[in-house]
Amino acid sequence: MSFFKAENLSIQFGGVKAVTNVSFEVQQGEVFTIIGPNGAGKTTIFNLISLIYPPTSGRITFEGREITGMTPHRVANLGIARTFQNIELFEHASVLQNLLIGRHNHTATRLWQELLFMPSVRRAEIEHREAVEKVIDFLDLQHHRDSMVAGLPYGVRKVVELGRALCIGPKLLLLDEPSSGLNPEETDDMAFWIEDIKKDLGVTVLMVEHDMSLVSRVSDRVLALAQGEMLSIGTSREVQSDPKVIEAYLGKPE
């Protein structure tokens, strides 16, 4: 049984074939990256995987269970977390509150217990706070714990979003262009964290990324797309030296 599997995914918007027959498997514990030139269908694939769009055809399975057609909130319950290219945080809440929302799925207390603030609720609350504090330490967010998200610089918000995804306690983490909008130093930190997420937390990472230095540094395997079709799959080096990939990025040699 494979950990995560996409089979013959295709999606059409009207007459436009955005993604055609894409299949791949992600092994547990690896970092799998999807690359491609602009307009290759990276983000579309990503939205298919995270179930924002239903595919026109094909299916997606996670831990042997078909997830195509599920609503996005059920996916979170299965242990798949995601971040967004343009950051989707709860703007009018503190960093801590954002991270605590990540614990939503792990909350099993009842409404009346919560309103009466029963001991069981208090215990659960402390547990959640501890889980969140671990993530705060992991990502060095201590200074920003009580800051409002709306006032934070872009680079920090990106990290907060990564942290919130980690608070879900995911088995599979989907990262949509984790380095977009970051300066080289912040990109470097991001690469470290992705490596640590894989090694220390044992979370499988599936990401879409265009920064090739980040890609070659952290990825175990890479899938290259162009015009919605699969070009090449393999290690980062294999894919980058594949003539078809070079052609897609740089054009045909004259």
Partner: protein
């Protein structure tokens, strides 16, 4: 002095009702970005449900009220599920027209129902015609109960939004639906629940108002006073809706006594104009600047 106290008191009492209807607007607006023009009519239906339970069926007052609230919560959820969800994602204008339609239909159906009709009905409360004397002012117990009940409801709502899992999920949904989905929050179900909550709050307002203005098919037009309340508070702020409601209630009460006749009905709108001129986002409004 006694006069002033009396006016303040009745202003706060009626302000509480405005506040609750405004609160209903704000809940739905924050979560779904829809302005629900049927909010006043939900309040009216709540009044009729309570009238049916207590007077027509003859249940004890508190039992009748609780049943009416539950029935209205279900009605609100059904409205969202059946009428509003199909137009989800359509233009704002479409959604607003649908809510206006819901209001008209509610008013029409009420006048057609046997036992309801176009008459004015009275709900007899356990406090009817009792008076409390405070500092020389005679205060009707019915009005005092409006204030007490509103305060209790606000406290419960505060605890609900602050501490309960589902209340926090509602807040999250109102801030960012997409992110809420990926936190595992069933956004659509939450929206349905918010309509239920909002309808129940409106019904509560109708039940509180019933001893003062009685229950009739057009009592929903008080919603037109709740709009200014929500705007004064800053559309989208829950504490703002409460404070806005109280301000409108007080202003109306004083304008009715100290100013020439006619001012009572327009006082609320003058306040809105002033607030919009000097503080366009309302007293508690979030200052949102578009980031480019």
């Amino acid at each position: 002095m006694a006069q002033f106290l009396q006016l303040t008191f009745s202003g706060i009492a009626i302000g509480c009702v405005y506040a609750l209807v405004a609160l209903g607007f704000v809940l739905i607006y924050k979560a779904t970005e829809t302005v629900n023009f049927a909010q006043g009519d939900l309040m009216m239906l709540g009044g009729f449900f309570a009238y049916t339970a207590t007077t027509l069926i003859g249940l004890p007052y508190w039992v009748g009220i609780i049943l009416a609230l539950i029935a209205m919560a279900l009605f609100g959820m059904l409205t969202e599920r059946i009428v509003l969800r199909p137009v989800l994602g359509q233009a704002q204008f479409t959604v607003v027209m649908v809510t206006i339609g819901v209001g008209y239909v509610a008013r029409g159906v009420v006048t057609m129902m046997p036992g309801w009709g176009t008459d004015t009905f009275k709900i007899v409360t356990p406090f009817a015609e009792q008076v409390v004397h405070i500092g020389g002012a005679a205060l009707a117990l019915d009005q005092l109960m409006i204030i007490v009940d509103t305060a209790v409801l606000c406290l419960i709502l505060f605890l609900f939004f602050r501490y309960s899992r589902i209340g926090i999920a509602m807040q999250a949904t109102s801030q960012n639906q997409l992110a809420a989905y990926y936190m595992g929050i069933p956004v659509r179900r939450i929206n349905t629940l918010i309509w239920g909550l909002s309808a129940a709050v409106a019904a509560f307002a109708g039940i509180l108002l019933a001893p003062i203005t009685f229950v009739h098919a057009n009592m929903g037009f008080i919603g037109l006073k709740a709009f200014p309340a929500a705007v004064v508070g800053g559309f989208g702020s829950i504490p703002g809706a409460i404070v806005g409601g109280l301000i409108i209630g007080l202003v109306e009460s004083f304008a009715g006594f100290y100013l020439p006749e006619g001012f009572k009905d327009i006082a609320a709108y003058i306040v809105v104009l002033l607030v919009l001129m000097f503080k366009p986002s309302g007293l508690f409004g979030e200052k949102l600047r578009k980031k480019v």
